[in-house]
Symmetry: C2
Subunit: 232 residues, 2 copies
């Protein structure tokens, strides 16, 4: 079934709506569609050389994962998270990733744990296998084995996170602290102490959230205003 995913160069997104969804997502990631900006169906349709139908579907899907806000006949806008919304986002991550961490401590095999530790240390010492970036949180979440939690964290929430992640990812000292915390979490998992692993993961996520909040003091209205000017 999955035999065309290897080296075809050009992928074949099964349906047009799927492809448009991805391309709009890229526009949002590249800040060409910044938070607060209007997402116009017909403009994007002509831009991508397709009808409004697929664009409409893509926007509805983005609306479903809360990346754009919309009301019945009003224009859709890229969601711009308030400080409150960012706090709530990270709280939800605390709840879900903490629990996933607890499950991982129960379910992972010794071999899996050791492999994860090895990958973590490899990524930290600089030499990560090129092409596959190491994502500690995703690895732990997937190890939980709960597909519903996996989909929620690696799907919907991940997109939102990614917009605000570059902020906290670049600071070197933060990176060093994150490695230490990741290592401690893995140690708790290896000791099969689910409660401790969950607690550590919660603290870790909460710290990351505070860091993001500190870097994004209050730019929701500014971004929206700026977006408005560019839209005209």
């Amino acid at each position: 079934m999955d035999l065309q995913d290897a080296e075809t160069g050009e992928r074949r997104p099964e349906t047009l709506g799927e492809e448009i969804f991805g391309r709009i997502l890229d526009l949002i990631y590249s800040t060409e569609l910044a938070p607060g900006m209007v997402v116009n169906e017909s403009v994007l349709a002509t831009r991508f050389g397709v009808s409004r139908g697929p664009v409409r579907e893509a926007i509805r899907r983005l609306q479903g994962i809360q990346l754009v806000s919309r009301e019945p006949f009003l224009r859709a806008r890229v969601v711009s998270l308030s400080a409150q919304a960012i706090l709530e986002l990270f709280q939800m991550r605390e709840a879900l990733e903490g629990y996933a961490c607890r499950l991982a401590a129960q379910r992972m095999s010794e071999a899996e744990i050791d492999a994860l530790i090895a990958d973590l240390e490899a990524a930290h010492s600089g030499r990560q296998p090129e092409g596959a970036r190491f994502d500690f949180h995703e690895r732990v979440v997937r190890a939980s084995g709960n597909n519903r939690i996996i989909d929620s964290l690696c799907g919907d929430l991940y997109h939102l996170l990614r917009i605000y992640r570059r902020i906290s990812g670049a600071v070197p000292e933060r990176k060093e602290l994150a490695f230490t915390e990741h290592w401690q979490i893995l140690r708790a998992i290896k000791m099969r102490d689910g409660a401790l692993a969950e607690s550590l993961m919660r603290s870790h996520v909460e710290r990351a959230g505070r860091h993001v909040l500190a870097q994004v003091p209050e730019t929701p209205s500014i971004a929206a205003a700026d977006a408005e000017k560019r839209a005209s």
Copy 2:
């Protein structure tokens, strides 16, 4: 935002797609669209007297909240939860409602707590204010103040839960036990013991999950086959 939910009698679903979404949801709740059955766009369109467009949007939205499964050109089907999926669903509830409970213990005012206790006991003693059914879990979740968690639990997950809820809701002894557990949770909240409240809520949800699982041993394939026959 939730101001038309009270006593208007007839709601005014702003757009056709919204209304169709609700009507398909009702069809699923009434088991006219049972788990495993095919959701046909054109059939529903003619049935509701609208074009395929709004129906298509509604189905995509149902797909977004995981009530129907679908692949590019294949037919959409009402999702039929396996035992594994039910387990995962309740685990996610454990994580989210537990955390919400902890937040509620921090944020609720004394007056809010007392009011909730009063409503719980009123509902238990039979005389609940007619028209507004008492939902303990929803009340606690909303008291958490985290809108993202609220939307997730009272929106997406709630619809899935509701399909399997009638099973566990009807048993009298279960109802009595649930009241006791609810009461204990509220007591922990009143003592401002967030950790205890979270722990109690997790146990409570887990117990409910086991109860549902026991009542639904293995009917996924049966339901799907039955659905197939009715579809022809």
